[in-house]
């Protein structure tokens, strides 16, 4: 079964901390994505990657960076966490020509910044 694993279900971090959210997929998918989900705003794309060491900005990249050193792993980094980054973070992956296939999502990481 296709699987996307996010390292933590819940995280609590302090303002100013550097935060790493990890995502691993076991399906040999080329494409990986990070979204954040907030009530009333739906899912918003932060960053995505179509290949190893490749990244592209999504709609709301400010305050975030990403790393994809290996095909199966896509990390989201909050350089200096702020309270407005409290949110549900969702990682997804897909095979082939980007949006032509459905995405497989992880279970999400609910991050609280205090």
């Amino acid at each position: 079964d296709v699987k996307v694993t996010q390292s933590s279900r819940y995280l609590v971090k302090r303002t100013g901390e550097k935060v790493f959210l990890e995502c691993v997929q076991d399906m040999d998918h080329e494409n990986m994505f990070w979204y954040r989900q907030d009530p009333g705003l739906g899912l918003r794309l932060i960053y995505f990657s179509y290949d190893v060491k490749m990244k592209e900005k999504g709609d709301i990249p400010e305050g975030y960076s990403v790393s994809r050193e290996k095909k199966e792993r896509f990390s989201l980094i909050l350089e200096s966490a702020s309270t407005n980054q409290t949110s549900m973070y969702l990682c997804a992956s897909s095979l082939g020509d980007r949006g032509f296939q459905g995405y497989t999502f992880g279970s999400g990481t609910r991050l609280t910044v205090v």
Binding site: L43, G99, Y103, F105
Partner: protein, 111 residues
């Protein structure tokens, strides 16, 4: 920016009834996808319909697409309590090379 907008925002029905959710979008698309999210969990891909298709079925799900009206609908027949979830439409435009999600419809199915 949101490409898709679902309607209604919330829907409450009884088990056995049909549930219909609508999605409107703004620009031309390559395909439209529907996803389901159980409370506090990740999204699960339900069905994909391409821009040259008008209707698609998968089990109790029926999706229609009207590109002239830039709209889609998801019909769940004979709803079950286990169908309680949020449902999202997502559009793929090709040029943008990424899925853009709507804000979702919360479906509550009661016994």
């Amino acid at each position: 920016s949101q490409q898709g907008e679902e309607d209604p925002q919330a829907l409450s029905i009884q088990e056995g009834e049909n549930a219909t959710m609508n999605c409107s979008y703004k620009t031309s698309i390559n395909n439209l996808q529907w996803y389901r999210q159980n409370s506090g969990r990740g999204l699960v891909h339900l069905i994909l319909i391409r821009s040259n298709e008008r209707e698609k079925h998968s089990g109790r799900l029926r999706v229609t697409l009207d590109t002239s009206k830039k709209s889609s609908s998801l019909l769940i027949t004979a709803s079950r309590a286990a169908d309680t979830a949020s449902y999202f439409c997502a559009t793929f435009t090709g040029t943008a090379s990424k899925l853009t999600f709507g804000t979702g419809t919360r479906l509550q199915v009661t016994l």
